[in-house]
Subunit: 234 residues, 4 copies
């Protein structure tokens, strides 16, 4: 039942994975990126436990969307594969998913706090706070844990594809960030931005119990990068 | 209407832009530097959305000072171009402008706090606090947002060229630092120093509700680098 | 009385030592890793005071387990050698030991606080808090100080090899982390993880007086990597 | 009046200066190291304002100890030269001096706090807190400012060469650390350690209002590296 995805997708997923250590978001082998080919009904994901410096396009694993079966690849797919799959199934506009344990985003996840919108750096990408999920229940942990991690993310966004486009990332309580985008590259960019705004937010909160910035400023920054009136280069 | 600026300016602006990631102030493509040729009535600025590692002198965009028209270059100029233009028009002594989203300076901007003068590292370059602007109004955000961002900076310094020379940088509330200098290279040096003193200030404030350092010490450090009695090498 | 250990062990210990600076855990020559050959009754350890960038496999020192005598090597073994030896003697399952002065783990050690379990990053590797020892007494410092440092670690874990496997690292009060694992490579991985979770924990504690994460989530993360039901790639 | 120092001293001072950016302690051209040749009555110091990446042994400046005259070199010596000279004259055991604006040490200097002894990392090198000077007076700033900076350091240590050996560094209030050692290399090592322990101390103080570590432990760590009973490799 081998299914071959286009080489261009494998290459993009490889490069997106390698962007994680290059951006300083990786400890050891932590983190993973996938990219989907909706026509072929599969996605390509990092294998489990391979060091970034040894990762090759050939090591990537191809997984079937509808049941999670491995359809190509010699290695085991990332342990978080079922979370990625759940997100692809729930949000049709998603083309790539990234998961990291980046330090400052994890700190918010461990404190079970949303990352608040404290400035334009955040508003350029996320149209609202980066929300933190509630805890998973004992039942959700005991069986299909990774798929349930996806479900709690989907539930937090009310399964709304439009919201998933406007807020392309979420913190899983006590765990860390999952981000997504139109493709693998965009999903890892959102992971990098999520970490950067978490870092800025921690320092901002230490400096002041800040009042929120004016909504018109945040709106301006989001809309100059997104939607019909966008004029910010990407 | 093509206008060619001297190659030496393009090269300086290119190198000043590349100093941003080298100094660790860049996330993705964030940040931009420009340099002005007042005789030709134009300035040269980074294009929008080009990764630093691919940036070439040819990619830089030449913009006319008096109306912001692009007069040379294949790419779109930085979204922040109008802010740079406003600063060049208001402050005749400025030869270069830099904007970054560096983490600690942004934290002060997001907390809407001036960076206070806490030591000689700050006083060596900035003759007083690095001030933070007030919020832009809804009207200032709705139309000519980027130019208005320049205006709020100019207003903060009372349009005073002398003050702009003594305090070569400002924090735009909720956004981040804009710095400037005699040329592009100096403007990016001031961005690097702004981030360094913000980082030091955050730790200092965490360690103590500090009394301000003695003014005579700060005066000594500023004047040994600036003005007629300067003897500090640059 | 020269004893030659297998080249493969020397090479593993060399690479594990070099992983310390590569992971950003080293200041100057600080830190050391050893690996044991239980059949030969010896362990191999970094020499004292050699810069990482000059370290060669030939510089490693072979030490006899039962009495600490140097049995091979031109250089003096690490000052902390007796601590390593004590841990090997007390815990039969340990194959490698790492000691660092990594910044955030040391901060917990200096605050004499356990690193609490605040999330899944921690629970993936440590089945409970990374505990901090009590202070050494004046007598324990005056004589056999390094061996006594090992003893206070062993006592903290009740000399229980099973606990040492489940919590592969400890903070020595006012000093820093000692971690271990099945081999030298695993012990340094645990040092890297210990530092990463300490860094996350400091930020988490600053953001919130957090309630502990649900135990079922932590249990799930530990058991998906360890024990008979493990399915997480390494 | 040209005086040539031994090439070995120039080379050591060059390498010690280059260790500053390599250790991450430099912003732009900040920081300087010197080394003394007491027999020749001169010291060699970094020139003012030269970027580290362009610094060559030929750029170093040779300065006469007794009056501060430049006796060899094309460039101006570091602005802080008179502070170095004052320290060499006051403390006969000093062979090298380093000054940096490293972030965490500066934070303590700006908060005008000593770096307290919070653990063995500190006690391995500094036999007591790294003390912070009082403010310089207006008179001390107005004339011979740099030499007076040296005097306030010397006064803080009661001009005691023995204390200068036991505590090889001081924070100048609102300014930053000056460290020293038997030679240039040792002085920069002490600058690196000063920054590392300042970083650890800031995190430790954030985690706990710590009680001081037991003195017998600190004594043990200092004496295993220093004095007649030392057995720690360097």
């Amino acid at each position: 039942m081998s299914v071959h995805v286009r080489d261009v997708l494998r290459q993009e997923v490889l490069e997106a994975n390698l962007a994680i250590p290059r951006a300083g978001l990786a400890t050891l082998t932590w983190g993973n990126v996938s990219g989907v080919d909706r026509e072929a009904g599969v996605f390509v994901i990092k294998p489990s436990g391979v060091p970034y410096e040894e990762l090759k396009a050939d090591d990537l694993v191809t997984v079937r969307l509808f049941d999670g079966a491995v359809v190509d690849g010699r290695l085991r797919p990332s342990t978080d594969t079922e979370t990625h799959r759940c997100l692809y199934l729930a949000f049709p506009s998603i083309g790539g998913v990234t998961h990291t344990h980046s330090t400052h985003a994890v700190a918010f996840a461990q404190a079970r706090r949303d990352i608040p919108v404290l400035g334009t750096t955040h508003a350029d990408t996320f149209n609202g706070p980066i929300p933190c999920t509630p805890d998973l229940t004992a039942e959700q942990c005991a069986k299909d844990y990774e798929y349930n991690t996806g479900r709690i993310i989907v539930d937090l966004l009310d399964g709304d594809d439009e919201r998933a486009r406007e807020v392309p990332g979420v913190l899983v309580a006590n765990h860390g960030p999952f981000t997504w985008g139109a493709g693998a590259r965009k999903s890892v960019e959102h992971a990098i931005i999520c970490e950067a705004v978490a870092d800025m937010a921690i320092h901002t909160l230490a400096l002041a119990a800040t009042a929120p910035p004016p909504r018109h400023l945040l709106y301006r920054h989001y809309t100059r990068k997104h939607g019909p009136g966008a004029y910010y280069g990407n």
